[in-house]
Amino acid sequence: MEFARRDAPFIAPKANVASIMRQVLYALMPATIVYVWFFGAGLVFNMLIAIMFCIGGEAGMMLARGKSIRVALGDFSAIVTAIIIAFALPPLTPWWVTATAALFGIVVAKHLYGGLGFNIFNPAMAGYVVVLVAFPVHLNFWVAPRIGDLDYHYVTIFETLSYTLTGTLPDYLTIDAISRASPLDAVKSALSTMHTFAEIHANPMMGDFGGRGWEWISNYIAMGGVWLLLKRIIRWHIPLGVFAGLLVPSGLMYLIEAGNHASPGFYLFSGGTMLCAFFVATDPVSAATSPRGRFVYGVGIGFLIYAIRRWGSYADGVAFAVILMNMAVPAIDYLTRPRIVGHIKHGKAPGA
């Protein structure tokens, strides 16, 4: 009898890229629902627009590079990029801002660097940084979460859609009327105007740790992240690194001078920390490779988030922190190579 040949091993791998990406998407679903509850349907519109442009960009680039579109779209990685971009943007964002972020992320940060697996920068964060710099006004337009006792205007689907599509609100509403500082912004400017953190924390917009409402989104994102950890889709090194890098310096500062510094808990549950720790920094392609390297990479991101929030001119620093650490990856990889079994240290035989 005759048989087909193939190389060992003869047991097929169980994991595949598409299922990993799909599970990442599932993990963000609860947070999506909570987000929409607090801030209206804007997130969903942003997701749809980002998905459209990410997929369009991916397909276009695969076509241009003469590769199979089906395989590229089948791995769901472009959709993950889109969803993360949507989570990073404010709920009310004009479509062209979202589209710019999506296209820059996919076309420039991903494909011009060689496509999935070769990109140095996290595509979602690269796209986000570009619009943060290019459209600062739009990216600073946040609304208040839907909580009864806050001065609150519930943006309707119609109002959201109008702003998303045209960049203007219906005549009866002005941006100034509904625009609110994000908790990170509020705390930052209050601290710089000589308020103590305790005073700021007494403000009704503040919850247990982060802003009221806002912190619940963080909680649900974290839950999704823990689920990914349990499913072993991501490993603990990066999230823990991010937390350590953020909590240690902020905790120290808070211990030294509680009045002039926000609490570590506030930093943890505000802005993009959770999204970053579980969903952005853990992007395998742009992270360091070895477990030790990943922890270091996470610590770097956490620390940079803190530094930018505390001393930088941006309220949140997640995207810059990730991009900066992306650049440090080759160095981290080189310095954290594991010791090969049978070698005394890396690349050195015993006695050599």
């Binding site: 048989f3 190389d7 060992a8 070895s290 990943r294 049978g342 070698h343």
Partner: protein
């Protein structure tokens, strides 16, 4: 010996994976009858080829020497049944690259008449090491775990280094394979008897029998014989069920907590590892006079109707063995010699069972292999690599053909276990790529060595030329001198001729 102890080893990474062993270990080892034809490869070990000592048409008896060892690392081969040598010709065998190898083909007479058994040596303790090594060599015994290194030479080499432990490897960590498990269950006395002989041959005072914890029956069988033997030099060591705990260096690491240095051997940390099957073969040869002419092999996989372990004569074709166990199922995809992680796929079942064949695995198409996608650098491969390599980096540099980086990242330390393949979400055939890259590097090293040799030859050559030329110049100078001084016409003639020649043809040699 009472209850065996459980030691959690310190192996890095590794895989806990479906064992699929219960397919084949449910019934005793079955004896495959004498086939009509035996196809016996002349060389069944790594090292120097053996030399045929029988002619075509010659009648041979079971156990008769048909090819003798030749060279410092070599092992002889014996006829595994009686009959007539009908041909000595190339025949398909299981090799990494496929292809044929010279085989002695015996038409069996079915009588299975044995040659006068060589006298069992009892007590073997009376023999000194050298003679025992010679004796083991004559039995044609090679490592039966799959490496098929000639046992006598392995022992000989080991005995000149300071040793602490003999490690009997009964771990058998690859899925599907159960031949060592069954052997330990049924022939534990021969295994431990072999261990005692090996200890004597090596002059070591301690032996670990390492068995994976998922083989309770084998562990009990070994423990029972240990109780009977009352030999306190032998200790049983349970090894956690994790692949690849049975790979030689990993076994040493698990048993002794010491890492075999890169490029080194277990002897560097005071250990010699022998497969349990090898130990049993040594016992049968030394104490019963039976050379290595048969072995236990696992016939299994979804493509086999009734998986089981069989004891078959070396040279029986895989087709005959599969017929004996009841044939193939409908759904047959790959025929693998060896386990599913490290075995070799072959294209035909005409190949013979050899000393190395621990498993005949027939895979159905149940295993679905996806298309290779780009590496997403998820690091899953690095977290399972038992040698702590970074397969994703190796893969990158293998694609780039960057030899220096490949060396720096430890390609040569890769044990080709296949763990990285099994966890890769991008379905990259990492192990196959590494195997190829290693072969290429070895070739390159060979080429370099060749180039170095010819460079040296060339240098020696030019040096000699230069010397000769200098000598000639000196002679010429002397002649010119003589001519100037003496003015003899003859000399002047010669001088003219030579200088003209020099001018025309300066580089002539």
């Amino acid at each position: 010996m009472s209850a065996p102890t459980f030691d959690l080893g310190n192996l890095h990474g590794g895989l806990r994976m479906p064992r699929r062993k219960d397919k084949s270990n449910k019934q005793p080892i079955q004896q495959v009858p004498v086939p009509q034809q035996l196809i016996i490869p002349i060389t069944q070990h790594v090292g120097d080829p053996a030399q045929v000592v029988v002619g075509i048409g010659e009648r041979v008896l079971k156990g008769q020497l048909i090819a003798e060892s030749d060279g410092p690392i070599s092992a002889p081969v014996h006829a595994s049944s009686s009959g007539k040598v009908v041909a000595i010709e190339p025949w398909p065998v299981s090799r990494r690259l496929g292809g044929n190898a010279p085989c002695i083909i015996i038409e069996c007479d079915g009588e299975d008449r044995a040659i006068e058994l060589s006298e069992p040596i009892t007590p073997y303790e009376s023999l000194d090491q050298e003679i025992l090594f010679q004796k083991i060599l004559q039995g044609g015994i090679v490592g039966l775990g799959g490496a098929v290194f000639p046992t006598a030479q392995k022992l000989m080499h080991a005995s000149i280094t300071p040793l602490e432990h003999l490690v009997l490897n009964g771990i058998e960590c690859e899925p599907y394979i159960t031949c060592d498990d069954m052997l330990m269950r049924e022939q534990a006395n021969e295994v431990l008897g072999g261990a005692q002989i090996l200890m004597h041959a090596l002059g070591v005072e301690h032996c670990f029998v390492a068995v994976e914890s998922d083989k309770p029956e084998a562990i009990h069988a070994i423990a029972d014989v240990m109780t009977a033997l009352q030999d306190d030099r032998i200790a049983l060591k349970q090894i956690p069920t994790i692949y690849p705990s049975g790979a030689e260096d990993q076994t040493v690491q698990l048993v002794t907590n010491k890492e075999v240095p890169t490029g080194g051997l277990p002897t560097d940390v005071g250990c010699v590892v022998q497969n349990v099957g090898t130990a049993a073969a040594v016992y049968r040869w030394i104490c019963k006079g039976e050379p290595l002419i048969s072995r236990v092999t696992t016939v299994t996989g979804d493509g086999i109707t009734a998986p089981m372990n069989v004891s078959a004569r070396i040279g029986t074709t895989v087709a005959d063995i599969i017929n004996f166990v009841g044939g193939y199922t409908e759904n047959v995809h790959h025929l693998v010699i060896g386990g599913p992680m490290t075995g070799r796929s072959v294209t035909t079942d005409r190949i013979p069972l050899v000393k190395a064949t621990n498993c005949i695995l027939v895979m159905s198409d149940e295993e679905q292999f996806g298309h290779e996608q780009p590496c997403i650098r998820c690091g899953a491969c690095a977290s399972v690599c038992p040698v702590q390599l970074l397969p994703q980096q190796l893969f990158w540099y293998a694609c780039a053909d960057n030899e220096a980086k490949l060396r720096g990242y430890g390609l040569m330390d890769c044990i080709e276990c296949g763990c990285c393949d099994l966890v890769c979400p991008s379905h990259i055939p990492l192990t196959a790529d590494f195997r190829m890259a290693k072969a290429r590097m070895r070739e390159l090293a060979d080429e370099k060595a060749r180039a170095e040799r010819s460079r040296q030859r060339y240098e020696a050559h030019t040096e000699r030329l230069e010397k000769e030329q200098m000598l000639r110049a000196q002679q010429l100078e002397a002649q010119k001198q003589a001519a100037r001084e003496g003015g003899s016409k003859a000399i002047r003639d010669i001088l003219e001729r030579t200088s003209k020649k020099d001018a025309q043809d300066p580089g002539e040699d």
